[in-house]
Amino acid sequence: MDIRNYYKVIVVTLSFTIGAIVKLALLPCYHSTDFEVHRNWLALTHSLPLNQWYYENRSEWTLDYPPLFAHFEYGLSKLAPYFDSEMLDINNLNYASGKTKLFQRLTVIGSEIILAIAIFSLLKSMQIGRKNHDIPMPIIQLLFALSLLNNFGLMLVDNMHFQYNGFLLGILLLSISCMYQNQYLMSAIWFSTLLNLKHIFLYIAPAYIVYLFYAFCIRQSSNWKRFIVNLIALGIATIVPFILSFGPFILMNQLPQVLSRLFPFKRGLCHAYWAPNVWAIYNVLDKGLATIGRYTRLFQVRSTSVSMTSGLVQDIEHQVLPSITPAITFILTIVFMMPSLIRLFRCCSKRTFLETIILCALTSFLFGWHVHEKAILISIIPLSLLAFDSREHARYFLLLSTFGGFSLFPLIFTGPESMVKIGLFIGYTTFLFYALGEIHGDHGSTFNLPLLNRLETFSIVLLIPLCVYVECLHTILHIDRILPFLPLLLISIYCSFFIVYCWIRLHTIEAHREDELTAVESTVKFSGQLNKKEKKKN
């Protein structure tokens, strides 16, 4: 093996080991109902035949991921009997023995091997750290691998709260890595597999559609015949995973049922805890105006039966501003995605493609219907790929990572874990600031954190009193009896301002036409005739 590949293997293995040690240590920590959700799915895929998977509703946690993920759970359930076969009983609701917890946590850590493989592949295809002349490339690669495999957000959501995001984001990164190596069809296959594992990634499908169509179908083709061939190849590559996953259900005429389970629109504009997006700001504005309206009678205030701050999952009706329907959110998302998609169309390079993925994910996060705060991870992880080479991206990555990570705090609220999450958050964030500051040669000063300006530094410092209030003062001063939703509201609003700010500023980064970093050749231009004419001229 080439010596450089040797380095990369060591780097990735070391980072994975360090990550695995910390994540294994988190074994006995608090886990949310998502743990029971996945246990239920293990039981359900193991005990029931295929035609009942999407009809089963003995437990309230019905199967709402696409069929490939159900098959993944089925594969895991084959290993479960080695630990504790009682977890595979469907009627064993809320079963969480020590061995079950051990097994489930081990599956999360094990499935992150895909993330490690993806990072190895990315290190080869994106050549991270090659441009930097001050710091040796293996060090930058090590810092990059450490920052992804020990990501605070992923650790909090995957290893404490309990989900499988590391595995899914690993597949996304594999797809991006294939794109960087110009293996378009492979990338399309990985992406549709990803869509069939968790349909939340539909958020970034527009970026893929535009880029694949333009870079692969149009630019790779020198004539119309090639274009049709490429288009058909792309179509087949995309459809095959869908056929493998949905095929059996279409044959059994269960497609409507499956789709209704996958897209439950009755859940309301915002989750029980408001994700820090535009609708959180909208809700607060509405509540504020309603209070003003009630006291001053300046404008009409509709009465509603439900309170949007009750902390429950339900439909929200607004009192002053117009109520939002799923259609409105859909239209707004598409409209706000347009600038980034047009930018991709005009300057179609690999880096712009990655930036568009990030922007699409962020736009859907900000304007989507019933967004979970965990969805911020889909924007942060791809942005980290660019942060280690580009100074401007590093700046927004740091901001997004800090505010995104902080907005995940309410997921973990039990006593012993509070200090763990604060300690891990501060440790990880300072490590990122320090590492990226060293890489980009900006060490900050007394009032500035590395790479940020004064206002941004100040806003991060303001997180400290906010954290102190949310974690202890709120309960000590007994404000939780009057306004129980206040801390969640404050975190949502504060973080949403800065996430919107990052979103706007990310649009303004100048798009690169050519990728100077990649070692692979640039693509052939469309319209071979033009090329021939240019050659004749030269």
Binding site: L14, L24, L27, E417, M419, I426, G427, T430, F433
Partner: protein, 484 residues
């Protein structure tokens, strides 16, 4: 150094401690006696509810056989403060007699917070003071970083304080401050003050008392074979005054009872299997049946005094900083190996000065620190902390290897191979202790084997560091040559 790096390391250390705190404590769910956690809770109960003259006395409300107070007064005062706070939060936690064996998750969280606050107030400031003022590694940033990393992330201290449950970080933190202050001429009196405080928190600090006394005497009270009376007298005054202030409440009543609790000679040569010289000898020569109790005590006294003599003499001959730290290590290790009534956890005492020497002798120190963890493994099995033990052990090994790589020009490869060989040879014993049942004739087989291996390694390291101290004592002062 960058303030960002400081904050990052500190919060990672805090996160590590709280992750360990999530695991069970000693004596969890084990009535009737439970463990050290119950002992600490019981001391809060006794100190808050009873007047001070009854704290160390056997009475109907204070049964000394159920975890009677056996640490000096500062522990009692600390327990009093914690008990007072716990009474404000929930009176059932420390109700006299009714709260025996109280176990609840909110109480566990409260107790973990008390250890955390003790760390925050005493241990972290001590560690950062060491970073800023340590004379041994002055101006060499990588060495100071090594010492800082070891101090913050040494797993045994974390496992015992935040897992098994004790308050070692208070006495160890105060002792650290005392050691570093002693090396600076303008603060040697404050050093004596802090050391007295540390001694009054846990009487085991007597292990360190002899070297620091010898050092303070030799460095500041002797000048060309004449005693500097002023320095000597002020030193004595500070120590006696501090003792007096702390002991004042008890002096009126019965100080002898306190002393009897602190030094219980009735207990026996050793309790559990310890990596002690006597435990190891006991395999061949059954000491307890051959000698009487008093004879054994006298033998221990004799051997301990003889063994610490070389190191103290060398320190007195040449009181340099490095000699001081090595001597602290040698003397406390001698005490550990040859003394009476030694617990496994007292291995922390030799480890403390070794943490200050990590940058000077990287391999010896890191391998000793790892071996100290191995020697405590039986305790981890009892407390159910095996998983977190392995994780922190492996994590600390990775850290150690990285620091050894940074200091690669100072290390000898032979030493590296030897240490790795010793550790990997002992690791199978740890795995066997969990998974393989020992034969019924020797039910403690694995524990004894682990203790014996650790003891042999400790003896080897003891000899090695005596050689280093000898080199340091006879080292010819060459004004041009820079030491590492």
């Amino acid at each position: 150094m960058d303030y960002l790096l400081f904050i990052g390391l500190l919060s990672s250390a805090i996160a590590m401690r709280w992750i360990v705190a999530r695991y069970p404590y000693s004596g969890y769910n084990k009535p009737p006696m439970f463990g050290d956690f119950e002992a600490q809770r019981h001391w809060m109960e006794v100190t808050v509810n009873l007047p001070i003259n009854e704290w160390y006395q056997n009475s109907s409300s204070n049964n000394l056989t159920y975890w009677g107070l056996d640490y000096p007064l500062l522990t009692a005062y600390h327990a009093y403060i914690c008990g007072w706070i716990s009474n404000k939060i929930n009176p059932t936690w420390c109700a006299l007699k009714e709260s025996h064996g109280h176990e609840s998750s909110s109480h566990k969280l409260f107790m973990r917070y008390t250890v955390f606050i003790a760390d925050l107030l005493i241990y972290y400031p001590a560690v950062f003071y060491v970073y800023r003022s340590d004379v041994l590694n002055k101006n060499v940033a990588t060495k100071k970083l090594t010492v800082l990393l070891t101090n913050l992330f040494y797993p045994l201290l974390i496992l015992i304080d935040h897992g098994h449950f004790q308050y070692n970080s208070i006495s160890l933190g105060l002792a650290l401050i005392a050691f570093v202050m002693a090396t600076q001429s303008n603060s040697f009196l404050t050093s004596a003050f802090f050391f007295t405080l540390s001694l009054n928190y846990k009487q085991m600090e007597l292990y360190h008392a002899v070297p620091i006394f010898v050092y303070l005497l030799s460095a500041y009270c002797f000048e060309q074979r004449k005693i500097k009376l002023k320095a000597f007298l002020s030193l004595g005054t500070i120590v006696i005054l501090t003792f007096f202030i702390i002991w004042v409440p008890v002096l009126q009543h019965d100080p002898i009872a306190v002393l009897k609790r602190l030094f219980p000679f009735e207990r026996g040569l050793y309790e559990d299997k310890v990596a002690n010289f006597w435990c190891t000898i006991n395999l061949v020569v059954k000491l307890r049946s051959k000698f009487t109790h008093e004879a054994l005590a006298k033998i221990c006294l004799l051997t301990t005094s003889l063994s610490i003599l070389p190191s103290c003499l060398m320190l007195f001959r040449r009181p340099t900083v490095r000699n001081f730290y090595i001597s602290l290590f040698n003397v406390s290790l001698c005490f550990y190996l040859f003394s009476f009534q030694v617990h496994e956890k007292t291995i922390l005492l030799p480890c403390l000065p070794l943490m200050l020497l990590t940058a000077t002798y990287p391999i010896e120190c890191f391998s000793f620190l790892q071996f100290s963890m191995i020697s405590v493994f039986p305790l981890m099995i009892k407390d159910d902390l095996v998983l977190i033990f392995w994780l922190t052990f492996i994590g600390f090994s990775i850290l150690a290897l990285q620091r050894i790589y940074v200091h690669l020009n100072q290390v000898s490869l032979f030493q590296l191979f030897f240490s790795i060989l010793c550790i990997t040879a002992t690791l199978p014993l740890l795995i066997a202790a969990i998974y393989i049942q020992p034969p019924s004739r020797y039910p403690d087989l694995w524990v004894v084997l682990i203790s014996v291996c650790s003891c042999i390694y400790f003896l080897i390291i003891l000899v090695q560091f005596h050689i280093y101290q000898f080199k340091e004592t006879t080292f010819k002062q060459n004004p041009i040559k820079k030491t590492n």
